[in-house]
Amino acid sequence: MSLPSLTVSAQWVLHLLTLLLLPPLIPGLINKVKAVMAGRSGPPVLQLYYDLAKLARKQAVFSRTTTWVFLAGPVGTVAAGLVAGLLVPFGHTGTPLSFEGDVILFAYLFGLARFLTVLSALDTGSSFEGMGAAREVAFSALAEPALFLGFAALAKASSSLSLSTMLLGSGLGSGRMAGPLILVLVGWAIVFLAENARIPVDDPNTHLELTMIHEVMVLDHSGRPFALVLYGASLKLLVLGALLMDPVLPRAPQAWQNWLLFGAGLGALAVAVGLVESMSARFRMTKVPQFLLAGILASAFAFLLLLV
C-alpha cells in the first residue's frame, strides 16, 4: 500500500490518534517479550486495553481518609502526559505544538504529574504509600538534572530550545555530535527506566510493597481513577520513549515511511525494555541513586563536551 504524501493536518490527526490510542500497547509488548523470554505464553498484547475497559465500568472506592486531592494525581498525570505528547515529535513527522522553550514546559509537565501523584499518595494516610512517595521524589529529583543536562547539550548543539528542532535538527548528523549524543542517550535511557518505574530501578510486578516505588503509590486507587493511572503510565512510556528514539531515527523521504520508522522504533524500544527486565534484577534501594548519578554524569559529560 502506498500512501500519498500526507498533508499537515492529516499528520496532526495521526499524531493525536497515536497519542490517544497507542500507549496501552507498549506495556503489552513489554510484557509479551518478558513472557516469551521466560518461556510462558503470557497475557495478550492488548491486555491493558481490556483492563482499561473493565476499570471504566467499575465503581471507584474511596477511603474515608481521602479528599479531592486523591483524584488530582490520576487526572493530572493524564492531562500532563497528553500535553507533553503534543510537544514531542513522533519521529520526523511534524509536531502539532512547537515553540521556542517548549522543552522546559515538557520537563515541568512531568514534574507536575509526579507532584500530584505524590500528593494523592500522601492523601491516603497509609505509611506504605508515604514510603513510595518519599522514594519517588528522592529519585526523580536526581533524574531531573540528567534530563535537563541532556536538553542543555542538545540545545547548545542545535542553538534552539524547541523540542522538534533539538531532537531532529540537522546538527545531530555531524561527526562532532556523535560522542555527546551517545552520552545523552545513555543518560536519558536511565531517566526513561527510572521515570517509568521499570527494572532495574523499580519492579512493576512485585507484590512486596516495601520494595516498590511507583506502584505502591497507587495501591488505593480503583475504578476510573485507576484506569487513568494506568493510562497515564503508558502515556509516559510513549512520550519519553519518543524522546529517547527521536535523535537516532533516520529521516525517510516519505511521511508514511517516517511513521513506519517511528512505529518500528517504538516496538524495538519495547523489546529492549522487555529484554532488560528479563535479564536483570532490581537494584537494592541504596544502589538506585548511584545508577541515577551515572545518568547525570553521562549527560553532564555530553554537555561539557559541547561547551568547550
Binding site: 471507584a60 509537565l109 491516603t124 521524589v137 531531573e144 540545545a155
Partner: protein, 655 residues
C-alpha cells in the same frame, strides 16, 4: 506629578493608619480602612506607572540642596506588590492578631506595620542618598519591632536581635556605597551617571551587592532570615518575605541602573551566588519540621532565583547583549511579583493553620484538608506555584530565566550559566519535594494530634485575602503575554538604553506556552468530568472504607509517614541536620531515644559560637562603665580634648 502624588498620598494614609491605631478611643476599624485606602491608592499609582504613565517627580529643598522623589516603572514594579500584600495583610491581621491579643501587642503591631509600609513606599520613590538611607533605616527598625511582636518568647527576642545586627551591618555597607556614589556623581541625588569609566564603579556595585544582599538573604548573609520569619506573626512574615526582602533586589537594580557601565565579572558572580543560594535554601527547606521555617528557607531559594535573573541582566549589560538584559531583568522582576503572590498566600495559609492548631510543628498535624477544606483548597495553587509547576505564575518567570540562561549559553561567554542551569533544574525538583512535604504532611492523611483533629477553617476575613491571592497566582500564570509591555518599561529603567523589548522575541512563544497551559487545564477538566460520571451509581449508597493499606484494617496516625521520614533521603547531604541515634545493645536493651535537630550551618553552627565567644571577651570593657555620672563626664571631657588635639595637630602631622 500624578503618580508620585498618588504614591505620597498612599504613604500618608499608611502613616495616618499607624497613628490612628495608637489611639485608644477610636474604633480600630478607622485605622484599618485608612490603611486599605492607602493600599488602594498605592496600587492605582503603581498600576498607572506600569501601564505607561510617564515618570513623575517632585523636587524639594533638603540638606543644602534639593532632594527628589520620583515614581518610575522600576519603583512601580515594587510598589505594586508592596501595597497589594500590605492591604491584604491588614485585612487578614484583623482576625489573626486581634488588638488585645497577647497583652495588647496588637497595637504595637498595627503601629509598626503601617509605618513599615510608609517607609518602604518612601524608599522606593527616593532619588536622594540620604532620603533613601533614612527610609531604609525606618523600615529596618519597624521590621525589628514587628519581628519581636511576640517578645515574651526568648527565641523571638533572639531572632529580632540577630535581625537588627544584620540589618545594621547592611546599612553600614550601604552608607559607604552612598558616599562613594556621591563622590562618583558629585551630588547626593541619584541621577544616571554620565558615561566614562571610573574605578569607583566596581566598588559601588560590590558594596551594593553586599549591603542589599543582607536584606535579600543571599547565601552567606541569609542566617537572620529563617528565625525572623518563623517567629513573626504570619501576616508580618508574609510582608517581610514577599516585600521587604525584595527591597534588596530593588536596591541592586536601582544602583546598577545609575552606573553607566557594569564591570565584567559581576553578573557571572551574582548568577553563581544566586544559584548557590537557591540550592542551599531549598535543600534546607527540606529539613525543616517547623512549617514557617520551611517557608522562610524557600524564600532564600526564591531570592536566589531572582538573584540569578539580576546576574544574567548584569552580565548582559557588561557584554552589551540587550536581549540577555531584557530576559534577565524581566525574569527577575516577574519572579519578584510571582514570589510576592504565592509566598504571601503560603504565609497566610500557614498563619491560618497556626491559628487553628496552635503549633508550628509539622509532625503534630495532618488531615487538615478535611477539617480546613477552604484553606486547603486555597493553598493548593500556592504549593504548585512555589514548585514552579505549570500552569501557575512562577513557572512563567522561571521559563524566562531558562531562556536567558540558554541565550547566554549559546552565545558562549557565560560559564556560570552552566552552573545556573543545573541549579535551576535541581532547585525545581527539590522545591517540589519540600512542598509535597509541606502540603502532604500538613493537610493530607490523618491527624497526628488532637490539636489537628479539632482544627477548623478561619473566618471569611482571613480567607478572602487568600482567595484573592490564589486567583492572582493562576491569573498571572495564564495572562503572561499581557505583562510583557510593563516588563519592558521596567527593564528600560533598570538598564537605560541597553535593552530590547521582550515582545518581538518572546511574545509568540509565550502565547503558545499559555495556550498549552490552557489546554492542560481543559484536558484535566475533561478527565475529571469523565470520572465524575461514574461517581456513585444511582440507587447505591457510597461506600467509604478505611484506607486499604495492604490489609491492615486499623491505620494508626502514629504509623503514618512523617515529614522527617519523607525527606530522610536527603539527610546525608544536609549539613545542618544532625541526628542522634543510640544503637540497641545487649540481649535486653534499655529504651533508647532518637533525636534529630536542625541548626543553620552559617548562622547557628559557625557564627553563633564565635559571636558568643566575642561577646564574652568584650565583657572586659564593662570595667569602663562603673555607673558614676562623674566618670562619664570625664569621658566626654577626654573625648573633646582628644578631638581638639587632633584638630590642632592634624595640620602639622599631615603637612
Amino acid at each position: 506629578m500624578l503618580d508620585v502624588a498618588l504614591v505620597l498620598l498612599a504613604a500618608c494614609s499608611w502613616i495616618g493608619a499607624s497613628l490612628l491605631s495608637l489611639s485608644g478611643k477610636l474604633d480600630e476599624r478607622w485605622s484599618r480602612w485608612l490603611g486599605l485606602c492607602g493600599a488602594l491608592v498605592g496600587i492605582l499609582g503603581a498600576g498607572h506607572g506600569l501601564l505607561g504613565g510617564v515618570p513623575s517627580r517632585l523636587d524639594f529643598p533638603f540638606w543644602h540642596g534639593t532632594a527628589r522623589l520620583e515614581s518610575d516603572a522600576l519603583s512601580a514594579a515594587f510598589l505594586l506588590p508592596l501595597h497589594l500584600v500590605a492591604g491584604l495583610g491588614v485585612a487578614y491581621g484583623k482576625e489573626y492578631w486581634p488588638l488585645n491579643h497577647l497583652r495588647g501587642t496588637g497595637r504595637s503591631l498595627r503601629f509598626h506595620f503601617g509605618l513599615l509600609v510608609a517607609a518602604m513606599t518612601c524608599l522606593l520613590v527616593a532619588r536622594h542618598g540620604l532620603v533613601f538611607l533614612l527610609a531604609w533605616e525606618v523600615m529596618a527598625v519597624c521590621a525589628f519591632f514587628l519581628i519581636g511582636t511576640d517578645h515574651e518568647l526568648s527565641e523571638v527576642r533572639h531572632a529580632s536581635w540577630v535581625y537588627l545586627v544584620c540589618t545594621h551591618t547592611g546599612t553600614a555597607l550601604l552608607t559607604a556605597m552612598t558616599i562613594l556614589l556621591a563622590r562618583r556623581s558629585g551630588s547626593l541625588l541619584w541621577l544616571p551617571i554620565p558615561a566614562g569609566p571610573s574605578p569607583l564603579d566596581g566598588w559601588i556595585l560590590l558594596l551594593a551587592i553586599l549591603g542589599f544582599g543582607f536584606k535579600a538573604g543571599f547565601l552567606p548573609l541569609h542566617f537572620w532570615l529563617p528565625s525572623a520569619h518563623a517567629g513573626a506573626p504570619s501576616h508580618v512574615s508574609a510582608m517581610l518575605s514577599a516585600v521587604m526582602l525584595k527591597m534588596g533586589i530593588y536596591g541592586i537594580l536601582r544602583v546598577s541602573g545609575l552606573l553607566p557601565a557594569i564591570p565584567r565579572g559581576f553578573g557571572a558572580a551574582l548568577l553563581a551566588l544566586g544559584a548557590l543560594s537557591a540550592v542551599y535554601g531549598v535543600g534546607n527547606a527540606l529539613a525543616q519540621r517547623d512549617y514557617k521555617r520551611l517557608l522562610a528557607y524557600s524564600s532564600i531559594e526564591n531570592l536566589g532565583i531572582i538573584g540569578m535573573g539580576v546576574g544574567l541582566g548584569l552580565a548582559g549589560r557588561a557584554n552589551h547583549d540587550p536581549w540577555l538584559v531584557a530576559l534577565g531583568f524581566g525574569g527577575a522582576v516577574f519572579h519578584v511579583w510571582n514570589h510576592a503572590l504565592f509566598k504571601s498566600l503560603l504565609f497566610f495559609g500557614a498563619g491560618s493553620v497556626l491559628h487553628a492548631t496552635g503549633t508550628r510543628d509539622m509532625e503534630a498535624l495532618g488531615g487538615l484538608a478535611s477539617r480546613m477544606p477552604r484553606t486547603a483548597l486555597l493553598l493548593f495553587p500556592a504549593v504548585l506555584a512555589v514548585s514552579a509547576l505549570p500552569p501557575f505564575n512562577a513557572f512563567l518567570s522561571e521559563w524566562f530565566l531558562y531562556r536567558g540562561i540558554f541565550a547566554s549559553l549559546s552565545s558562549g561567554y557565560l560559564w556560570s550559566a552552566a552552573l545556573a542551569l543545573v541549579a535551576l533544574a535541581f532547585t525545581g525538583g527539590l522545591a517540589a519535594v519540600a512542598f509535597a512535604k509541606f502540603y502532604g504532611i500538613l493537610f493530607l492523611g490523618t491527624p497526628r494530634s488532637p490539636a489537628a483533629s479539632h482544627a477548623h477553617d478561619p473566618s471569611r476575613a482571613m480567607l478572602l485575602p487568600m482567595a484573592i491571592l490564589a486567583c492572582l497566582c493562576l491569573g498571572t500564570g495564564l495572562a503572561g503575554p499581557l505583562l510583557l509591555p510593563s516588563l519592558d518599561r521596567i527593564v528600560a529603567v533598570a538598564a537605560p538604553g541597553g535593552s530590547v523589548p521582550l515582545g518581538p522575541g518572546l511574545g509568540t512563544d509565550l502565547r503558545f506556552l499559555v495556550g498549552a497551559e490552557t489546554l492542560l487545564l481543559a484536558v484535566a477538566f475533561t478527565a475529571y468530568l469523565w470520572w465524575r460520571r461514574a461517581l456513585v451509581p444511582p440507587g447505591r449508597a457510597e461506600f467509604r472504607p478505611p484506607t486499604w493499606d495492604c490489609g491492615y484494617a486499623l491505620t494508626l496516625p502514629r504509623a503514618e509517614y512523617t515529614g522527617s521520614s519523607f525527606s530522610d533521603a536527603w539527610a546525608p547531604v544536609l549539613p545542618g541536620l544532625k541526628a542522634r541515634i543510640r544503637r540497641l545493645t545487649g540481649n535486653f536493651p534499655k529504651p533508647v531515644a532518637f533525636r534529630s535537630e536542625f541548626r543553620d550551618v552559617v548562622g547557628e553552627r559557625y557564627l553563633g559560637p564565635r559571636m558568643e565567644r566575642l561577646a564574652a571577651r568584650l565583657l572586659r570593657f564593662r570595667r569602663l562603665q562603673p555607673g558614676y555620672l562623674s566618670v562619664y563626664i570625664l569621658y566626654v571631657l577626654l573625648a573633646l580634648l582628644g578631638a581638639f588635639l587632633w584638630m590642632g595637630l592634624r595640620g602639622r602631622l599631615l603637612g
